[in-house]
């Protein structure tokens, strides 16, 4: 390293510790003096740049941080509450919509979801049928013949007993809605299904089939079973 290289390096990095730099400084008194002056300038420069920070700067930063964290927590909490409220409103709204739909529509939709039950052919025991109704708080006077499926199903917010009765003329789905009684007996057609809605006891008997020719017989059987002639 020569003097020019040293001075260039000195101007760029006064605190340079490079081996060549240090060696030249040792060998060259003029450059050593130049570095001493440069370091003195650096010291003064550093002092001049050391503007005092505002009092309590660290505390102000920490306070701002704490405040922001608190605000974020509040926002998260509020967000969570809003989300919960929105969910409840949504759920309630959906519930109202479901409830606003006719019982027969809900029954058809339920049957679509469980259409496979129409293919069951093995008869279920009378006791299983009695147990299903008993779990809904109802005691059967008798159990109709030909039941090949029975289950206690929710339908919307309603409690039902869902059955399938096989026989000549095809299967008939029977849904007894335990907790709501419709105003009038009616036959209907919905989505390719023939149906009948019958107020029976405290609830509603809904019959669904591709062919409604057996509805009268099935209705009689369930009137007898539920002792609600």
């Amino acid at each position: 390293m020569n003097c020019l290289d040293f001075r260039r390096r000195l101007g760029a990095e006064p605190h340079c510790n490079d081996a060549d730099f240090l060696r030249h400084r040792q060998d060259c008194p003029g450059c050593a003096e130049a570095q001493a002056r440069a370091l003195a300038f650096e010291q003064t420069l550093r002092q001049a740049l050391a503007v005092p920070p505002p009092a309590e700067l660290a505390e102000a930063v920490l306070l701002a941080h704490a405040t922001r964290q608190q605000r974020l927590r509040r926002v998260y909490r509020r967000g969570a509450l809003l989300a919960l409220a929105a969910s409840l409103v949504l759920a309630f709204g959906i519930g109202l919509r479901v409830e606003a739909r006719p019982l027969t529509d809900q029954a058809v939709e339920h049957l679509r979801a469980e259409a496979v039950t129409l293919t069951f052919t093995q008869p279920v025991t009378a006791q299983a049928v009695r147990d299903a109704f008993a779990s809904r708080g109802l005691a059967l006077r008798e159990v109709p013949d030909g039941i090949t499926f029975v289950a206690c199903c929710p339908m919307g917010r309603h409690r039902t007993v869902h059955l399938v009765m096989s026989g000549e003329g095809g299967a008939v789905s029977v849904i007894y809605v335990v907790d709501v009684r419709t105003g009038a007996r009616e036959d209907f057609q919905h989505g390719g299904w023939q149906g009948r809605s019958v107020p029976l006891g405290a609830g509603t008997l809904i019959l669904l089939a591709q062919d409604g020719s057996r509805f009268d017989a099935v209705e009689r059987a369930w009137r007898a079973a539920l002792d609600a002639r």
Binding site: R8, R9, A12, F41, T44, A48, L49, P53, V61
Partner: protein
């Protein structure tokens, strides 16, 4: 209960907020804005604190965040640089040196008048403690360009202090 992250953050704020303020002040030239920059820097640093692997690198890491925050507020053009090897080195004279003026205010005024393209790397070196290589990475320049800039920054500063015009003999790149 205070988490270890919070303790680390508190320690960083208490130990480095002063240094960051000084750097921010000379970067933007406004005390209130410097205060805001430091505050915003630490608030951003909190979110990324898990990325800080070495405590020793905290100051450089924070200055980088501060510079980004400042750039976000004040977009600036990247300055053009020449090579340090192209620079003539004039003989120093005692009159150029600030210790003879005895006035730190003169240096501060000179710093304020210094073009940002010279002032920025000098501040990173003097206040940030960055090496030329680190400054080069920070400013996205070559180390040689940084050496040129800090060299010329000192020359211009001394010229402003002493009124010497010989720094004008520095060669520009074609």
């Amino acid at each position: 209960m205070v988490s270890s992250k919070q303790r680390q953050f508190d320690a960083l704020v208490r130990s480095l907020s002063g240094d960051l303020f000084r750097y921010a002040y000379w970067l933007c030239g406004d005390e209130a804005l410097a205060h805001d920059l430091v505050q915003e820097t630490f608030l951003r640093a909190w979110r990324a604190l898990d990325d800080l692997r070495e405590t020793a690198a905290a100051k450089a890491w924070l200055i980088t965040i501060l510079r980004r925050e400042h750039a976000r507020l004040y977009e600036r053009k990247t300055p053009q640089f020449t090579s340090v090897d192209e620079i003539d080195v004039p003989e120093e004279r005692g009159a150029h040196l600030p210790e003879f003026s005895g006035e730190e205010n003169l240096i501060r005024n000179a710093m304020r008048r210094l073009d940002p393209k010279y002032r920025d790397p000098l501040l990173l070196q003097v206040l940030g403690g960055f090496s030329c290589d680190e400054i080069a990475r920070e400013l996205k320049l070559t180390p040689a360009a940084v050496m040129t800039q800090v060299f010329r920054a000192r020359q211009k500063l001394k010229a402003l202090l002493g009124g010497d015009s010989r720094e004008g003999s520095v060669h520009e790149l074609p």
